[in-house]
């Protein structure tokens, strides 16, 4: 057995010529990435913040209005509704996590046709939201396939996309359908890390399926569950625009208006980039909070 002194390479002293060269080289390697972050992330963010303090119409420079756009957002019933819709969306988070987890566990347990299911579940994830929206528009509209199928069994038609009680739920269901396959794959990779011998030992000791599930598998998957929860939350808050646009247009009323859709409406349709920027900054702060949560979870689980 060799001693540590012999295997550790000699360390250069800080402040030496070699160190400076190393720093220069490191900076050189980092430069492209730093420039990309500065030009495409930091600068637009700062520019967006400055815009949010003006009443520009996108053509002229506009006047400095301080935090008036933020005050306006707080008092805007449409923005308030979009936040309520966001909270309703976040309340469905357990479904977004539990469904792919249960399906992944079933596939992992070796249900017949598991590989086929894995592929089929993942398939919608490769479709664009506009295509998915177009498909479900045909299915869910008032004279669509679903209502025709319900009529065949004597159930009255429901205006899935046009009714205020069903529109957001329909949208969530479609988004869930289109993205849960990715969650299944993440859980499957997580399940591969659960030691088979422990499960086998539990089985020999007489533990039933549900006992093995809740006492061994789920606790082992805790870091994966947290990861999926955070990633899914960010995903649903920032990637539902295409579906909203195609399926409901934010309506009826404000039933399916989420902040990202409102930003598009204010910027693209109403020509108010100042106000749109203010809503964007609020959404950014919300997302920043979730990102902070994500980093905390990752750090906490790093040792697991």
């Amino acid at each position: 057995m060799s001693s540590p002194e012999k295997t550790t390479p000699p360390r250069k002293r800080r402040g030496g010529d070699g160190s400076k060269a190393e720093i220069r080289m490191a900076f050189l390697f980092l430069l492209p990435a730093l420039l990309l972050v500065l030009v495409f992330r930091v600068f637009p963010l700062a520019w967006g913040f400055v815009l949010s303090l003006t009443n520009t119409d996108g053509i002229g420079k506009g006047d400095w209005v301080g935090f008036a756009n933020y005050t306006r957002a707080v008092n805007d019933p449409t923005f308030q509704d979009s936040i309520v819709n966001t909270l309703l969306l976040l309340a469905t988070l357990p479904i977004w996590v539990m469904l792919p987890m249960l399906l992944a566990i079933l596939i992992h347990q070796g249900v017949p046709g598991g590989k086929l299911f894995r592929a089929v579940y993942f398939f919608p994830a490769v479709l664009s939201s506009v295509i998915i929206g177009s498909i479900f528009n045909i299915v869910l509209r008032y004279d669509g396939s679903l209502n025709n199928a319900l009529a065949a069994v004597g159930i009255d038609a429901v205006d899935w996309l046009g009714g205020s009680a069903t529109a957001l739920g329909s949208l969530i269901a479609v988004q869930l359908w289109s993205t849960f396959g990715m969650g299944v794959l993440i859980f499957l990779s997580g399940l591969s890390t659960v030691p088979d011998d422990i499960i086998e030992a539990a089985r020999i000791d007489g533990a039933r399926f549900w006992q093995r599930l809740f006492l061994i598998i789920v606790p082992s998957l805790r870091p994966i569950i947290e990861f999926v929860a955070v990633v899914t939350t960010i995903g649903v808050l920032t990637s539902m625009f295409g579906l909203i646009y195609v399926l409901t247009g934010g309506g009826p009323g404000t039933s399916t208006t989420l902040p990202e859709f409102l930003i598009w409406l204010e910027q693209g349709q109403l020509n108010r980039p100042g106000y749109a920027s203010a809503i964007s900054m609020i959404l950014f702060v919300m997302m920043g909070g979730i990102a902070y949560l994500q980093i905390r979870i990752m750090t906490r689980n790093a040792s697991l």
Partner: protein, 410 residues
């Protein structure tokens, strides 16, 4: 060495030449040039422009209609973008007037220029179509319901009686209505208000000073709800798109009426192609508080020149060609749109429905209040119109919400 020098000089000359050429290429943004029905119009304009301006070329770029103003807004904000743009009349153009070249001196012999003008009368786009909003009805369905196929309703009571007969027949709804993006509600504003608004009302409306509690404005909300409560509209209107699901419903004879257009889509020509000439009737939406039902119309779409363009003189020359009588005649005949250029011979646009529409435009002309409404207030009305159809709000609450939106966007 000589070879290198020659190569460099040749390259520089070529680059200069290429730069010169690219400066002569005009980029035009529109949402029409991809439609086969308009190919004749765009080809003729391109040919005439390139013949009149040797060395210059024009490149028509089709942009998605739904995203058009988002893309245009970004282009105008950045100070770069197309040399010529197609725009809608009303607030869409007026709110961007600051970024467009003043074309007043070229705007003679056009109808509907008001939709492309500011309050001082400066014109920012040359119109190529007249946009109108008429109620079209299916004469066969009228006959099937025991109604006189040629007796279009001229009062609210007559319309109510016609709808009662059609609903009693039980085959189809009285009106096809698509309100998924709120366009059903949007067009309804003009259907109702055009018959009662005075010049003073219009001035106050445009300035955002006409309250939604004013009886003439409140009536828009009341009649929208009235039609819904009477069962005139099809079920599920909030999940049906006006363009084109509603119109396809009407063209499949699955509804007796639709509020259609007089421009190049969803109009008499398209409806007659499906339902047959002689089977499409036209009338203006009657208002119970007005003796005469007016037909709302104004400038439809037009060509504008952004100030940020590098070739403004050339761009203006192209706009003049795109809007001249010869080119508008091609557009009108091939698409069925009503031309805005008054020098166009419209005798080739002949049909019973169109004749009736033109008669209404002459005898009972009205403006299009929805096109003059503040876009943010109009957006709120779209939302309220959906909630009213669902019964999620009341007339009073909707009027209150509209009034709040008006005050917030004055």
């Amino acid at each position: 060495m000589i070879n290198l020098k020659t190569t460099l000089l040749s390259s520089a000359a070529l680059l200069t030449f290429a730069t010169g050429l690219s400066a002569q290429e005009l980029t035009v943004w529109d949402w029409k040039s991809g439609d086969p029905a308009t190919f004749g119009y765009f080809d003729a304009a391109k040919e005439a422009f390139e013949a009149a301006n040797p060395g210059a070329t024009v490149n028509f770029v089709v942009q998605p209609h739904d995203q058009y103003y988002t893309l245009l807004g970004t282009a105008l904000t950045s100070g770069e973008g197309p040399d010529v743009v197609l725009v809608h009349g009303g607030a869409k153009t007026q709110s961007r007037a600051e970024a467009l070249v003043n074309l007043t001196d070229k705007a003679e012999n056009f109808s509907g220029v008001e939709a492309f003008s500011d309050e001082a009368g400066n014109v920012f786009a040359l119109p190529i179509t007249i946009q109108g909003f008429a109620v079209y009805y299916n004469k066969d369905l009228y006959e099937a319901a025991g109604l006189d196929r040629d007796a279009a309703p001229s009062s609210y009571e007559e319309l109510a009686a016609a709808c009662e007969a059609i609903i009693a027949k039980g085959d189809v709804p009285c009106f096809a209505l698509g309100n998924k993006q709120g366009f059903g509600g949007e067009f309804f504003v003009s259907q109702i208000a055009t018959s009662t608004f005075s010049d003073e009302d219009y001035a106050a409306w445009v300035a955002g000073e006409l309250s939604w509690t004013d009886p003439k404005v409140r009536q828009i909300v009341e009649l929208w709800v009235d039609g819904n409560e009477r069962g005139w509209f099809n079920e599920g209107a909030n999940s049906i798109a006006k363009f084109m699901d509603e119109y396809e419903m009407f063209m499949r004879s699955e509804a007796a009426h639709t509020v259609g257009l007089l421009s190049d889509v969803a109009h008499w020509k398209q409806f007659e192609e499906f339902l047959g000439e002689g089977n499409v009737g036209v009338f203006a939406y009657p208002n119970p508080d007005a003796e005469v039902a007016r037909l709302p119309f104004g400038g439809g779409i037009g060509w504008a020149v952004p100030k940020a363009g590098e070739n403004q003189e050339l761009a203006m020359s192209l706009v003049e060609i795109l809007a001249d009588a010869e080119r508008q005649a091609i557009f009108a005949v091939e698409t069925g749109a009503l031309p805005a250029n008054t020098e166009v011979d419209t005798s080739k646009l002949s049909s019973e429905a169109l004749a009736r529409a033109l008669e209404l435009m002459a005898s009972a002309p009205g403006a299009s209040p929805h096109a003059l409404l503040n876009p943010a207030v109009l957006e709120e009305w779209k939302r309220q119109s959906q909630s009213l159809l669902n019964g999620d709000t009341t007339v009073d609450a909707a009027v209150e919400a509209m009034e709040a939106a008006r005050k917030a966007n004055m």
